[in-house]
Symmetry: C2
């Protein structure tokens, strides 16, 4: 099947890997979407809450950047979390334009409980995996985290 031209074998392999990761990510998320709801939160909300809980109070812009989303999108996500009592907005003491997002005790609690809950089907499937495979997935998550950080 062709593939001549300027493409190196390395980038061909990287491209194939990218497509497979893309597909795996789509399917993983679709599965989790259904059941995220041990917590009652959708995936983007849970993800944002997690950053706020573990990343301390931070501005909305910083949170949007961390979540790789535009500010208006994060404004709305935070509005939902605030309405649910999981985070609070407060004025920045140093910058009148900025808003600091802070987790409430309820938000912290929800995340901790979710952590302890381990009901999700994915968790159960992972627990059934050979230790070796689980380790591979953990290393993969490390690599992807790193990739996301130095984009």
């Amino acid at each position: 099947m062709g593939d001549r031209g300027a493409s190196s074998p390395d980038s061909a392999r990287a491209n194939r890997a990218a497509e497979r990761l893309h597909s795996a990510a789509i399917h993983l998320l679709r599965r989790l979407r259904r059941e995220d709801d041990a917590s009652g939160l959708t995936a983007p909300r849970l993800s944002a809450l997690s950053v706020v809980v573990f990343g301390g109070p931070l501005t909305l812009g910083a949170l949007a950047a961390a979540e790789q989303v535009r500010p208006p999108t994060m404004t709305r996500t935070i509005a939902a979390l605030e309405k649910a009592g999981l985070v609070a907005r407060e004025a920045s003491p140093t910058d009148g334009r900025a808003v600091l997002i802070r987790a409430t005790p309820a938000g912290r609690r929800l995340l901790e409980e979710g952590r302890a809950r381990r009901t999700s089907a994915l968790t159960r499937q992972l627990a059934d995996l050979p230790a070796h495979d689980l380790a591979t997935l953990e290393r993969a998550a490390d690599i992807l985290d790193r990739l996301a950080r130095d984009r």
Copy 2:
């Protein structure tokens, strides 16, 4: 931090891994969303098209199951792909209720070209990775594929 109670160390580890994979998948997809568009297709459409191209003609229901989505969602996705001339609907010869989805030459071509295009930032980032890390990601994709299949 606590974590006593009924939880085994294994499931605690699996749960942590599940959360990290969840987060990695979210961030991976958000990045790809921006640039999927070498092809002009959104991620779900590209994913569905890929299944149709490589999985031969198949019914809408089978496609929905493969994509872990409800039939009405797939109906709409296919409608968009059909409108774009990338797939065609045809009546099933054996079942008057069913619809077979088949890729058109244009759909096939788009996928092949996308494959050769390798413009995505992810591909480039992956190509820069040590071979060892890339291999880890490939193995992880294998494992996740398998997991998705025997859910």
